[in-house]
Amino acid sequence: MNDMTPIAKVQTTLKDWESDQEVRWCPGCGDYAILKAVQRTLPELGADPANTVFVSGIGCSSRFPYYVESYGFHTIHGRAPAVATGVKLANPKLDIWLVTGDGDGMSIGGNHTMHLLRRNLNCQVMLFNNEIYGLTKGQYSPTSREGTASPTTPLGSVDRPASPCAFALGSGARFIARAYDTGKQLPDVLKAAYHHKGAAFVEIFQNCIVYNKDRFADFTEKAVADGHQLWLKDGEPMLFGKGTKGITLDRDALTLKVVDVVANEDGKPDWQGAGVIVHNVRNKAVAHMLVDMPFGPFPMALGVLFDDPRPTFEDSLLGQDAKAREGKEANLAKLLAKGQTWTVAGTAADPV
C-alpha cells in the first residue's frame, strides 16, 4: 500500500487550526463546510501546523489559506501549482495542501494543474468545483454544463464542460477522488488523499449559493443521496441505492452498466449474482470509465476512484541531484578557474 508521509504526529484540536481571521465567504457557502472538514481532519492526521502550508490561487476557494492557522500563501490566478512546486522542491519536508477552483485550476491554471499531476509532486490538491466563477460575479466556468446562462452567456453556454477528474487522470495523476462539501465522507477522502504519497487530486463539489445554487442537489440532497451516490471502496462491490443497484461491466460493449441487485435469502444483496464488479483502486481503465460515467443514467461516482502511487517528483529530482553531488566538492574558486585558463606572468616590478 501507500507509504505514510513521514511526518511526526502532533497533538492538535480543530481550534488549533482556526486562524484569527474573519471568514468572508457568503453565508451558506459550501466553502464553510469544506473548511470545517479540513480543520477536523488535520488533528486526526496528526499534522503539524508549523509544517503545513496551504497554497492557493485566486477565487473564492483560494481565500482558504487565510482561515487556517498554518503557513499559507495566497498566490495569483492559476499559478498555485507552480508556487507549490517551488516550495516543495525547496523543502520537501513541508506538507502541502493546494486549494483551487474550477476557474483557477481548470481554466487559467489548467496547464500548471496538468504538470503538477504529471510530475507527481507530493501534495494534496483540493479543487472546489462549483461550476461557476463566483468571485467575479457569476460568469460560466470551464465546468459549467451546456446551456448555463450567465452574464457572459446570456443565451446559455454552448461549449461542453471539462471533467476535472477525467482531466486529472489524463494528466497522469496517481490518485483521484471525489467528494462534496457537506458530505460526511469528506474527511475520510481527505485522509486517503493525505496518505497517498504523490499528487492526490480531490474534486470537491461545492455549492455556490449565490450564483449556482443547488447545482449538485440532484445527488447531494438527502432524499436522493442513496439512489444517486456510488461510494467507491477498494475491494468492495460497486453498490448503491442501499444495495439494490450495482455497477457491472458490459463485456460486449466494454462499458459500465447499472444492474438491479436482489437480496439473498439472508437479506444481503446478491451482487455476485447480478455481476456487480469489485472496485480496485489500481485499475486505471475502470477509473477512466468511472470518471466519465454520465450522471443521470448512472449515479455520481464518489470516494477514491483511483490510487496507485508512483515515485514522487521531489524524491526523483532531489534524489538525482543528491547523487550528482556525491563525491564532488563545492569549491567556487576551482569552478571559476575551470576550463581553458592561462596565466599572465608577473614582472620583477609587479610580481604575481
Binding site: Q21, N51, R79, V83, V87, L94, L332, W342, P351
Partner: protein
C-alpha cells in the same frame, strides 16, 4: 596584391614588417558549417597567445536553415590585438567566406583593402543561385576593392582526410578545422590546444579526431605554401600588457551563471533556478543544471510563468529563487513579479534581452526591455534593476543582484542582452574571498514586542520585513498578493493600508540607492561640454569612441550606469555638470527618457535597433555632431 592587415596608422615592428595593433576577423558560413565552433576555438588560441579580444557571434534563428541560403548564414567575428579591446570591431580586416551566401551577407562590412578568403569548392552554380548571384563574384571583378584569396578549401580538406576513409559528407565537415588551421597560421598561433580539444571532443570516435586534426594541420601547412606564393602573409600580434594573474575566456551567460552561484554562496543559501527554454537565455539554465554540487536545484518549468512562480515558492521556503528569460518570457512573468513585490520575497530575474516586440529577433541583440524592467508591471510596483556592461561584468552584477534581493527582500532584475550572453572575452579569474559575504538570517522567534502573533510585515532597518521560513515552529502566518495590514500582513484593503504599504514599498526600493556606490565618471572629467551616458553592452563602443574623441582633443566624457533603478544618488548632479548629454542605446531612447524624467535634463538619444551592436564609428560621429 596588396599587403594585408597593414594599417599605416600603426608603427612598424622591429624588422620592418608593419604590425597592426588589432585585427578583426570574421568567419562566415552556412549554419551547419561549424562557424561558431571555429570562432570559439580561434578565440581560445587568441587568448592563449596573450592578446586581448572581444567576439560577436551572429547566427540565424533557424537551427539548420536550408543549406546555402542567405538567411542560413552564421558568422563569428573576433577583434583581437596587443592593446585593450572592448568591442568586436567595426569592420573586419579578414573575411573567411565558406560559401557564396556567406560572402554576399558579409563582404560589404569588410574594410576596403581587407582580405577575402573564399572556398571556391562551394561556388557552384546551385550555390550561386541560392545566394542570388547571376555571375560568380570571384570572377566578375566585383570584389576589386578587396584582396581575394580564392581556392578550393573543400577539395583540399577532402584530400587531407582521405586516409581516414570518411564518407564525403563527414569528410567535408572537417572544412572548418582546415580553415581554422589556416587562420592559426596567419596569426602565428599554437595548434596544440586545439588538437587537445579535438582529441577530447571526439574521444569516443578517435578516427574523427584524427581526421579533424589532419585537416587542421593541412590548413596550417597551406598557409606556409601560400605565403611562399605571395598572397598571404603571417602576422604576429604581441601580447597585450596585462595585469599578472590567472585568466580564462568567459561568455555573459557563463558569467551570470557563475555570479549567481557565487551570490547564493555569499548569502549562505541554496539556490533554486526555475527556467523555461528561450533564446538567448537558455544557456544559463544549461550551465546551472551542471552545478548541483553548489547547492543548486534547477527546474525546467512548463512555461515562463511557472518558472518564476516556482522560484517565488522556493524563496518563500527559504532558498534563493532565481529565474531567467528573454523579453517575451519576461512579459509573461510580469504578474508574478508583482506577487514577489507584494509579498516582499527575494528573487533574481535575469533578462537576456533580444530584439522585440513579440518574437522579434530571437538571436539578435537589443536593449529594448528597459521600460519593461523599470515600469512594466501593473500597479505601483518598483523593483531594483541592474545592467551588466560586458560578459565579465555580468559576474559581479549577478552577485549584486543576489545581494540586493536578499538584503531588501525584493525581486531584482538583472539585464544583459544577446550580445553579452553569447560574446566571449578574457576574464581575470576572481578570487571568491574578495567578495564580502552577506549571509541571510531568518526570523526564528516571535518578533511581536507585545507577545501577540508574529508580525511578518513588521519593517526593520531600511524598511525590510523579516524572512520567515515555513516549517518554523510558532511563526505560522499567511501571505499573499492581496493588500495587507501594517505589521500583521493580515488581509486589509483599507485606504490606510494601501497608502501606507504603497509608500513603504516605494521607500524601500528608493533606499536601495543608499547602499550602492556613487556613480563614477568612467572616462574623462567630472564636468565638461559633453557626456556620453551608457548602460549595458554599449560599454565597449562608447569607451572606444570617447577614447578616440578625447585623443582628438574633444571635451567629452563617458558615464556608464550599472544601477538603472534606483539610479545612483549623485547621478543627477553629476550629469548636470555637463553642457550636453548623449545616450546611445540599442532601442528608441528608453534610458534617455528615464534620465529626463528623473533629472529634468535634456538628454539626447542615439538610437539603434538593427539587431547589431553599435560600431565605434557610429558613436564617434554622434559625438562629433553634438560638439559641432
Amino acid at each position: 596584391m596588396a599587403t594585408i592587415l597593414a594599417d599605416t596608422e600603426f608603427p612598424a615592428a622591429p624588422g620592418g614588417t608593419p604590425a597592426p595593433e588589432a585585427v578583426v576577423v570574421r568567419f562566415a558560413g552556412d549554419s551547419g558549417d561549424g562557424m561558431q565552433l571555429t570562432g570559439g576555438q580561434f578565440t581560445l588560441s587568441t587568448a592563449l597567445a596573450g592578446n586581448d579580444l572581444a567576439t560577436f557571434p551572429d547566427f540565424p534563428a533557424e537551427i539548420r536553415a536550408p543549406q546555402g541560403t542567405l538567411f542560413g548564414v552564421s558568422a563569428f567575428q573576433i577583434n583581437f590585438g596587443s592593446t585593450a579591446i572592448e568591442t568586436a570591431g567595426d569592420a573586419p580586416d579578414v573575411l573567411v567566406a565558406m560559401n557564396p551566401a556567406a560572402l554576399k551577407m558579409n563582404v560589404q562590412a569588410l574594410k576596403p583593402g581587407g582580405l577575402v578568403i573564399a572556398d571556391t569548392g562551394e561556388f557552384t552554380k546551385r550555390n550561386l543561385e541560392k545566394a542570388k548571384y547571376d555571375v560568380s563574384p570571384l570572377d566578375d571583378g566585383s570584389l576589386a576593392k578587396w584582396d581575394l584569396l580564392a581556392f578550393d578549401i573543400s577539395a583540399l580538406t577532402l584530400e587531407s582526410v582521405k586516409p581516414f576513409g570518411l564518407g564525403n559528407k563527414e569528410a567535408l565537415r572537417c572544412k572548418n578545422m582546415w580553415t581554422l588551421g589556416l587562420a592559426l597560421w596567419m596569426f602565428d598561433r599554437e595548434r596544440e590546444p586545439i588538437i587537445q580539444w579535438l582529441k577530447d571532443k571526439f574521444r569516443k570516435n578517435p578516427v574523427l579526431a584524427d581526421a579533424n586534426i589532419a585537416a587542421l594541420n593541412a590548413g596550417h601547412a597551406y598557409g606556409e605554401t601560400a605565403e611562399l606564393a605571395g598572397p598571404l602573409k603571417q602576422t604576429h600580434l604581441d601580447p597585450v600588457p596585462t595585469a599578472p594573474g590567472l585568466y580564462r575566456t568567459v561568455t555573459g551567460a557563463e558569467a551570470v551563471s557563475l555570479g549567481l552561484v557565487a551570490g547564493a554562496q555569499l548569502a549562505s543559501l541554496p539556490m533554486f533556478f526555475g527556467g523555461y527554454p528561450i533564446t538567448p537565455a537558455s544557456a544559463i539554465l544549461h550551465n546551472l543544471a551542471k552545478l548541483k554540487e553548489f547547492g543548486v536545484t534547477t527546474f525546467q518549468a512548463e512555461d515562463e510563468i511557472a518558472a518564476i512562480c516556482s522560484a517565488i515558492g522556493a524563496s518563500y521556503a527559504g532558498q534563493l529563487g532565481v529565474t531567467s528569460s528573454s523579453g517575451p518570457g519576461i512579459a509573461l512573468k510580469g504578474e508574478a513579479m508583482g506577487l514577489a513585490i507584494m509579498t516582499e520575497l527575494p528573487l533574481v530575474i535575469v533578462n537576456s534581452q533580444r530584439g522585440g516586440p513579440s518574437t522579434g529577433l530571437p538571436t539578435k541583440t537589443e536593449q529594448s526591455d528597459l521600460y519593461q524592467a523599470v515600469y512594466g508591471r501593473n500597479g505601483d510596483a518598483p523593483l531594483p534593476v541592474i545592467a551588466a556592461r560586458s560578459p565579465s561584468d555580468a559576474f559581479e552584477c549577478a552577485i549584486e543582484a543576489c545581494r540586493i534581493a536578499v538584503q531588501y527582500m525584493t525581486p531584482v532584475i538583472l539585464l544583459t542582452d544577446g550580445y553579452i550572453a553569447n560574446a566571449a572575452e578574457p576574464w581575470s579569474v576572481p578570487n571568491p574571498a574578495d567578495f564580502a559575504p552577506f549571509p541571510v538570517t531568518f526570523l526564528e522567534t516571535n518578533n511581536n514586542p507585545d507577545g501577540g502573533k508574529v508580525l511578518p510585515y513588521k519593517r526593520g532597518e531600511n524598511g525590510v520585513r523579516p524572512w520567515i521560513k515555513p516549517g518554523t515552529p510558532g511563526l505560522t502566518h499567511r501571505i499573499g498578493g492581496i493588500e495587507k495590514a501594517i505589521d500583521t500582513g493580515d488581509l486589509d484593503y483599507s485606504p490606510l493600508a494601501h497608502q501606507t504599504q504603497t509608500d513603504a514599498r516605494k521607500a524601500k526600493i528608493d533606499g536601495v540607492a543608499k547602499g550602492t556606490p556613487a556613480q563614477e565618471v568612467t572616462q574623462g572629467t567630472e564636468t565638461g561640454k559633453l557626456v556620453v551616458v551608457g548602460w549595458g553592452s554599449t560599454y565597449g563602443p562608447i569607451t572606444q569612441a570617447v577614447r578616440k574623441a578625447r585623443a582628438k582633443g574633444l571635451d567629452v566624457s563617458h558615464v556608464h550606469v550599472r544601477h538603472i533603478w534606483p539610479l545612483p544618488q549623485n547621478l543627477g548632479e553629476l550629469l548636470k555638470g555637463y553642457d550636453k548629454v548623449l545616450v546611445p542605446e540599442m532601442n528608441t531612447g528608453q534610458f534617455k527618457t528615464v534620465l529626463r524624467d528623473q533629472f529634468l535634463i535634456d538628454a539626447r538619444p542615439l538610437a539603434k535597433t538593427s539587431g547589431q551592436p553599435f560600431t565605434i564609428a557610429e558613436i564617434e560621429a554622434a559625438i562629433d555632431a553634438m560638439l559641432a
